[in-house]
Symmetry: C2
Subunit: 507 residues, 2 copies
């Protein structure tokens, strides 16, 4: 048993190293590489992917897993191992069995179709004409259905896809959470819309990019982002990537006219990075050394971005420095007004620009549509109508065209079905975790007000980060909060915060 | 035959892509990565190396090569192929057979010993005490002798090692060239030392780094370095690396007090890069798509650095811009004096700081010592004495300690024996090529004086760059110049140039 485990760890170490190599190569592609090199770079990445697939699904890995007793229903095997070793076998089995079930022909066809779909999606969005993308999307849904069939599921094909991003969670669990959440958020959004609006004119002024960068770096430094174990660079779309135990990098983008966008990207991505940088030494350098699910990962980024970064005490600390850098732009704007502007809520069409209250409604809409497309309950051809109808239901607005409606996101063109829910799950986990944090470190606002975030980061490390993938998300949630995922923490948090900001009745 | 060739090309394509991936990962390590990530990054690189070795020495590659008729004495096989396909088989055979002959145990032991040696070398150099490095160097020489035995050679074990960096060249060929070269250079150096010295005080002033970068970028832009197919970054030691057909990057370093060092690094590395960027379309993306030997590679960098960059007409073009940027530092310094300062010659201890005349003497010394160590003619323990004696003979000076003597270079600690000669070969090829250039583009000085380098780059592309590894270095030399490597072109060039600068008799 011990020897099989140690041999399996050797194979896993190679997978780990190749995965980090891929991260280096991709990071370079997004931040440094001349555009002209793109085609060959894509080939480099595909080759690495192929080598990893081959190593993961090798007969040797299969033999070791089976010798360790890992099988359907008992993925952790039957070895009498420490908790992190059991988790290691479980995750290797999960990866191995998912990868082994997918025939190479399906993987290749998916790569081919998403290549074609990306081009047609870009074109369709540019022309605001869904019909130009429809055929390709149909193919992608078909292939995803086939993928789900190959992987297998108990209740709904969606489960097999969701499992890739939010392991061990099912569509019905998501539904159980999203149902009540959607109703409460729609209601809160409507009440806010009916109240007195906040002034945001001063944050729409021009803010020099160099000063934005200076301020942004000072904020993430105070959060605890270690520049000797990572970097901050510029890319077209902000992201976080793990290139090694001591090399986790974030990217951002600055726009002179969007000062908050760059800043909150920095904070958001730092939240992701701190998670990966906080992995415990006992699991560093192996396949458990990453976030356990995209939902939990997103909880870390959104906790820092929203719960911390958009809070009043945060700006009590940072607004003086902000005003010093941007005196002209903020002339005559008090802390209260600034904090309100940072938290403006309004129904809007584009998910990535949505505020903290309406954001999850965009996700719920996508989840429902994905699930119905996959089960065949709605046809791809009726997607624009379905989209617009649901926008009206959930947010009370209807997009003028497909570009600001059904065509806005890249995910489906990239073949990603089952990914969207993790964004909203992140909001829910973040609120539930920060509620539990109180008993550990006392009133969160008081801690933020000190301008020292070590206590907060320490709590996150101790309760969440160090475990990486050791505990599945649901188990982690129970360990940290004593209960299953419960959307009430999020809606309670929003009611309190926005009740104050918008002066809603009953607050 | 055709099918075997096409299958071999498929394998080679993977090797090509992995090689470029390795380049991405190494470039990042040198220019972007936080230091703390070094250990894990080294593991990533070792794993890639292992995967490449496995692919190169796979039974399938062996089978294809043998089916193509490639064997000792007929490395190009017996297929009736185009010249670049024959070259492709030849180089695959060469790589395959070198890699197959080395047992894994030897490769691992070499990696282990060079790891240890690097540490002891750093320590020995710091303490200027060769005895701290002696034992490790003995091991490395022993392993290199074993390596040479495994690979095989006709005349001297040195041949097997030299072949890695300067394929198909032998130690006796190098000797035939270095012998007369050494005598002539020692003589010229002595005559220069006895003449009136040039003033370099103004280039020892402080030159702001940002302006150095501005000027350096403007120079390599005019040389034809395409920023849309490459990059210029900062690293501890300047280097050029090929990350893909359209992604060749150079690095430099600037020091406020060493204005010429940064500038000539830029020019030197651009020379290397332009070679790799000029590979012909017919061999792009396969293993022939790089410089044919380190000597030829170095000829390109030194041609641009020395023949062009340290020429009078070059500074006729660029000195006005230089003066505009650095008015204070160059106040009262005329073009003639500046050009002389750029070409100051004096015997010195450190190879990498040596001038165009004395540089090759440093190389000749190292070549002789390496060869004698390998054959056992001199003992490692007597190295400091041997070194100092030869310095006296060749350059007329004796280092004060081992740090500025035998311990100055990293190469031996890194296991590189047989590498040094390529630096001097570069000088020789550069002079011989530029002599041939005349018949193609007319008087070189006249072309430089126009400030337009397209004609020069075009000639290099047409005659050298496009061929990559298609023609071995000696054949390439004959094709370009009509004769074998002949050191007289280099010494004639130096006599003429430095005769004028130093007002030597007979000039």
């Amino acid at each position: 048993m011990k020897e099989n485990l140690s041999n399996l760890k050797k194979s896993a170490r190679e997978l780990y190293l190749l995965n980090r190599t891929q991260a280096v190569v991709s990071w370079d592609q997004e931040t440094q590489m001349p555009d002209a090199a793109n085609e060959e770079r894509a080939e480099q990445l595909a080759l690495l992917e192929g080598i990893m697939h081959q190593k993961l699904t090798s007969p040797e890995v299969g033999r070791l897993l089976s010798a360790l007793g890992a099988e359907e229903g008992r993925p952790e095997g039957k070895g009498d191992f420490a908790v992190e070793d059991k988790a290691f076998v479980r995750e290797m089995y999960r990866n191995y069995s998912r990868a082994s079930k997918l025939p190479e022909s399906l993987v290749t066809e998916m790569a081919r179709q998403t290549g074609l779909a990306h081009t047609s999606w870009v074109n369709a969005r540019k022309n605001a004409d869904f019909s130009l993308f429809e055929g390709n999307l149909e193919k992608i849904i078909e292939l995803n259905r086939e993928k789900a069939d190959k992987i297998g599921y108990k209740e709904h094909p969606y489960d097999a896809l969701l499992d890739e991003y939010e392991p061990y969670m099912t569509a019905s669990q998501v539904e159980g959470v999203f149902g009540p959440l959607g109703e409460k958020l729609s209601d809160l959004t409507a009440r806010i819309a009916a109240s007195k609006q906040v002034d945001t004119s001063f944050i729409e002024k021009k803010y020099p990019v160099e000063l934005q960068d200076k301020f942004g770096r000072s904020v993430i430094d105070k959060m605890g982002f270690p520049m000797d174990r990572g970097r901050l660079d510029i890319s077209a779309h902000p992201f976080t990537t793990n290139l090694g135990t001591n090399d986790v990098r974030i990217t951002t983008r600055y726009d002179e006219e969007l000062v908050l966008s760059g800043l909150f990207s920095n904070i958001h991505e730092s939240g992701h990075a701190l998670y990966e940088l906080g992995i415990g030494e006992n699991i560093q350098g192996n396949i458990l050394a990453e976030g356990v699910s995209l939902g939990i990962h997103e909880s870390q980024s959104r906790f820092w971005e929203n719960v911390i970064g958009r809070s009043k005490p945060f700006w009590e600390v940072f607004y003086p420095e902000f005003q010093k850098l941007f005196g002209e732009q903020t002339k005559g704007v008090g802390l209260d007004d600034f904090h309100k502007a940072v938290n403006k809520v309004a129904p809007s069409f584009i998910r990535v620009e949505a505020d903290e209250v309406t954001y999850s409604l965009h996700v719920i809409l996508r989840f429902e549509i994905e699930k119905a497309m996959l089960s065949g309950d709605i046809k791809v051809s009726s997607l624009p109508d379905e989209w617009n109808r649901r926008m009206k239901d959930l947010l009370g607005i209807v997009p003028a065209d497909d570009a600001e409606g059904v065509l806005q996101d890249v995910h489906w063109a990239a073949g990603l079905i089952g990914y969207f829910p993790t964004y909203a799950l992140g909001n829910l986990y973040a609120a539930q975790f920060s509620n539990s944090m109180k008993s550990g470190i006392g009133d969160l606002d008081d801690v933020i007000r000190t301008g020292k975030f070590g206590k907060i980061l320490g709590w996150l490390r101790e309760n969440i980060h160090q475990y990486g993938m050791v505990y599945p998300a649901d188990e982690l949630c129970r360990r940290v909060t004593g209960e299953n995922l419960n959307p009430d923490y999020f809606t309670d948090y929003l009611e309190k915060k926005y009740g104050e900001i918008y002066g809603l009745r009953g607050n």
